[in-house]
Subunit: 355 residues, 2 copies
Amino acid sequence: MDFKMGYFRENVEKTEGYVPGFQPSSPSVIKLNTNENPYPPSPGVVAAIAAVQPEQLRRYPDPLGNKFRQAAAELHGVDQENIICVNGGDELLSMAIRAFCDSKRSLAYPVPTYTLYPVLAKLDDCPELEIPYDDEFNLPARLAKTGAALTIVCNPNAPSGTLTPVEELASLADELKGRGVLLIDEAYVDFAPRSCVGLVKNLGNVVILRTLSKGYSLAGLRFGYGIAHKDIIDGLLKVKDSYNADAIAIEAATAAIKDQAYFRANVEKIVAERTRLTSMLRGMGMAVLDSHANFVLAEVRGATARIVYDQLAAQGIYVRYFHGLGERLRISVGTREQNDRLVAALEQILQGCRS
Amino acid sequence: MDFKMGYFRENVEKTEGYVPGFQPSSPSVIKLNTNENPYPPSPGVVAAIAAVQPEQLRRYPDPLGNKFRQAAAELHGVDQENIICVNGGDELLSMAIRAFCDSKRSLAYPVPTYTLYPVLAKLDDCPELEIPYDDEFNLPARLAKTGAALTIVCNPNAPSGTLTPVEELASLADELKGRGVLLIDEAYVDFAPRSCVGLVKNLGNVVILRTLSKGYSLAGLRFGYGIAHKDIIDGLLKVKDSYNADAIAIEAATAAIKDQAYFRANVEKIVAERTRLTSMLRGMGMAVLDSHANFVLAEVRGATARIVYDQLAAQGIYVRYFHGLGERLRISVGTREQNDRLVAALEQILQGCRS
């Protein structure tokens, strides 16, 4: 074989790539590791997919996904030109870094947060400026002073579930104005009391990222969108693949956001379960941050998180363990039954560790 | 509004972005401008989409699309690890340029060819080396001497439809070995007598690009794949979005490539119509290159291509006009009826120009 190192750019050679959460193929496991919604998508979505005609598959899709843009614009009270459709929220992150950053234009974000950000920065050969949160996950004041071309704040933050107030992010965007773009990654905002979407009306340097993977139960569909000033959207469209969202996804996503009643009912169930799960875990002596997302970050006491993770997995219960986050596990909020089974298994494992 | 120029990288600000071919929304037009297949996709594809379960939408998809990879590996006589799934062939082009090229690692390709290549190069701030074909579209010998990190040959070439023999591309890859990667864009190879897939077995620097948009009538689905040595695939996987291919697309694409009988029957019909269309156009006095793709490049005589294009469009018949290609129109091969209607309209327009 003639393969030699050196075909790839050096920064690509060096980087490890992002490792997505484990996706077990068995349907019988309790999967609380990648923040999927435990409830199925709207029946309207299933109907929209069933109604897709062979002619829509044969032809190229609308390159802009205008049917979805119109529905999203109505939902958020903005114009269609303020919306960009993407093949999952991760695609917008990748596009934003390629559009705004390079080896001389850096990316800043508070940590700990979504671990994809540094992976994308490395692939783009872009310096990453990681500004630590304090113990209460307050937005670091230094974030306004980094000189970064792009600043990303995940809000609610993953994996902490904590929420920075809209006013603080408005101030940050205002400080960055004329110097850099603020992307607010609202992947989990469906489960939070407030969104920053309103900021795009007065701040031309704010990009809001949304996904249909969590609140709309469509992680398998790969559909997200960005909301921003028209000039920012127009620049991002240059970086976008010509036909990044497929014809089926455009139909399904449009049906999903039009069924707000179904969406809200599911979100309410998850928020109620989040409260119940949090208090059950605290009742077991675990430290749990107040979460505004569809997961909780729980600190294991009297055992190591890695061992608890392994013992849960052995029982077919998957949660997320992160290196570097101490004795913490990130647990997606499941159905009532799933949460009860998780808690029962945890109690048993922790008792075993103590005895 | 506080928006100021300068948020974007300079090369993004400067570039125009790719303008995809016009996608008329009316279903009654004769659409011969973006090389879609005139026949619907396999009934197996429609059935696979109808069989998608809400649970597959709710969960993240397999990040690697292994079900499709296995089917593609069987079809091409390679291993699963030699296949990468992409969200349309354009995504593989973008990924390859980001993986192999940067401001110091250039991209080379013969011209005229697919006009997306320079757009992607500009977005990546990568120097593009355009080596002209001769009048017969023979592969330029200089292509082996450019020093480019990535060389792309579209084969069959668009918009000419011409085919470079496998042996010549094998020689080119061999010359580039250890110095650069050769990506052979086989978007149109379904309609050609031979493919270069066999080269990946002995040449570690060859990447084959395939799409399901043309031969499989799935332009609306956005699904393509790459075939290469495992080490190249592993590097490209780092650049890939975690979940770039959605759950529905993986199912539909797998069903499509498993129905080879349906695929071959459609390809044969299109190849037969290509021959008939070519001879009808030549009979009208137009110069038409022998095509190995699902389109023909026809030179208008006695009229300007732009005027003919406009007059066809006014009748609801869309073909592709390119600036800089002289008096040529690229015409996708349609159904027998569509081709007859195109030829009748062309005859009328050309007679009007002559009288």
